[in-house]
Symmetry: C2
Subunit: 247 residues, 2 copies
C-alpha cells in the first residue's frame, strides 16, 4: 500500500486507511507485505509506486485525488506508467451530471477530479462521485476514510484472494519475558503456523496477546493447544498471572 | 521512519507510533519525509533500513526489540550495518539488576532484549528498562507506544532540529471543489509558503481544513490573510456555508 499526503507526515491527520486495508485484506486471505507513506511530491510518489508495483501483485494507494493543487496523485501515477494524464470522458460526464443535479458550478478545480491516466478503469465512488481508478495492478483511491473504504469494498470482488489465512488470538496474562523461551520452542514444533506475540502495557504491567496463524485448521488447533498448555503451566508453576510480568 | 511488525500489516494492531513521531518531529522543526511499514522478516527490514538510512538524515524504527522469537530487529539492524549482534554488557547489567530487584528469573528470552549491534549506544527506557539503541543515524525503539514515546523524548535533545516550521490552520466551511481554483492562485502568489487542504466529511457534507506552513511569520500571515479573504468572498458570493459543498 502507498499512502500519499503531507498531512500524514506532519501528524495533522492520523491515518486510518492503512489499518482498514490491513483488516480487509487479512480477512480476504491477501497478505499486506509493505506500506509506504510519502508526501504530495511527484518524484516521491513515482519512485515509491514503481518500486511497489514491480514487487507486489497489487498496490493500493490512498490520497491525493481531490480537486486542489496539492492533489497530484493522478499526475504521478500517469508519469509512473508513462501515460498521458487526461480528463476522462466518463468521469467528466458523471461529475458534470452530479453538479448539474445539485445546481452547482462544475469548476475547473472540480474537473481536476476527472483526471486520470489515459485508459484507466474506474473505481466507483458512491459517497462523492469522483471515481478512483485502476491501471494494471495499481488501485488508486481517495484519502477520506469513508470514500477509501467504499472504494475498497468495490474492488475486493475482482482481487485474486489466497486461501484464507486462519487465525486464533489467545490472551495471555504473562509478559513476553515469561513466554519468550517456551513460545520459541512451540514455534519450532509447529512450522506450518506463524506465531506472533503482541505486548500490551496498561501503565502498570505487561500482558500479551498471542496470535497463531495457519492456512490449515488442524495445524492451527495443534499450535493453539500447545500455547494454552504453556499458559496453564506458567500459571501453575510460577508467578500469579499479571504480577511481575514484563516485556 | 520504519515501523516493524507483522501485527501492523495484518490489522491486528493499529499503529500509533507514526502519528506520534510525526507530531513530535513537526514541532521540533524536523520534516518527516517517508514512512515504511514492513513485516518481522530480516530481508525486508534490512532492505528498507538501508534504503532509508542512506537517503535521510535520521531513521527512526519502532518494534521488534522484545524478548520473543519474532523480535528480530536487533539482528536485522546488525546485518544492515555489517556488525555482530551481541548481548550488550551494560544492557545485561541493567536488565539483570532489574529482574534481581523484582526477584524474577533473567531468562534466556529476557536476555534477548540486551542484544544489539556491537558498539551501539543506548536509548534509555524508563518504562520497562530494556534499552533501545542507536547506530550512526538509525534510532531503534520499542513498538509498545508508551515505551516508544518515552524513547522519542529521550533522543530528541540530540537531534539537529531545523528552523521551526510555523503553521496556521484555518477551518473552512467549503469543500475542496469550491476552494480548489482560488487556493491554487493563492499558493502561486505565496511561493514561500506551503498550503495544504484537508477534506473532512461528516457523513453528509464535506468541509475543509486549510493549513498554511512557512518558516517566516510574515509570509505565513500574508498567505493566511489571503485565504481568509477567499473564505469571506465565498461566503458573500455563493452558497451558504456547508450547503452543497463537496470534495
Amino acid at each position: 500500500m502507498l499512502a500519499i499526503g503531507d498531512e500524514l507526515l506532519s501528524g495533522r491527520t492520523k491515518d486510518k486507511n492503512i489499518g482498514h486495508l490491513a483488516d480487509v485484506l487479512t480477512v480476504a486471505g491477501i497478505d499486506l507485505k509493505e506500506v509506504r507513506i510519502v508526501a504530495d511530491e511527484e518524484d516521491a510518489i513515482v519512485e515509491a509506486l514503481n518500486a511497489l508495483r514491480q514487487r507486489y501483485d497489487y498496490v493500493f494507494t490512498s490520497g491525493g485525488i481531490g480537486p486542489t493543487h496539492d492533489d497530484i496523485t493522478a499526475d504521478a501515477v500517469s508519469t509512473a506508467f508513462g501515460l498521458p494524464c487526461v480528463h476522462d470522458a466518463e468521469a467528466m460526464r458523471l461529475l458534470g451530471a452530479m453538479y448539474a443535479r445539485r445546481e452547482m458550478e462544475f469548476t475547473e478545480a472540480r474537473q481536476r477530479m476527472a483526471r486520470m491516466p489515459q485508459g484507466a478503469r474506474h473505481i466507483s465512488n458512491p459517497v462523492s462521485t469522483a471515481p478512483g481508478f485502476i491501471v494494471e495492478n495499481v488501485y488508486v483511491m481517495a484519502g477520506v476514510p469513508q470514500v477509501f473504504q467504499a472504494m475498497v469494498d468495490n474492488i475486493l470482488p475482482e482481487l485474486r484472494t489466497g486461501s484464507r489465512m486462519l487465525s486464533r488470538a489467545l490472551p495471555c496474562p504473562f509478559g513476553e519475558g515469561d513466554i519468550g523461551t517456551p513460545l520459541t520452542r512451540i514455534q519450532k514444533e509447529h512450522p506450518a503456523t506463524s506465531i506472533g506475540s503482541y505486548p500490551k502495557y496498561d501503565g502498570i504491567r505487561f500482558s500479551t496477546e498471542i496470535v497463531v496463524r495457519a492456512r490449515n485448521e488442524s495445524e492451527l488447533e495443534a499450535a493453539a493447544q500447545a500455547i494454552e498448555e504453556m499458559i496453564r503451566s506458567l500459571r501453575a508453576s510460577r508467578l500469579p498471572p499479571g504480577i511481575g510480568t514484563d516485556a
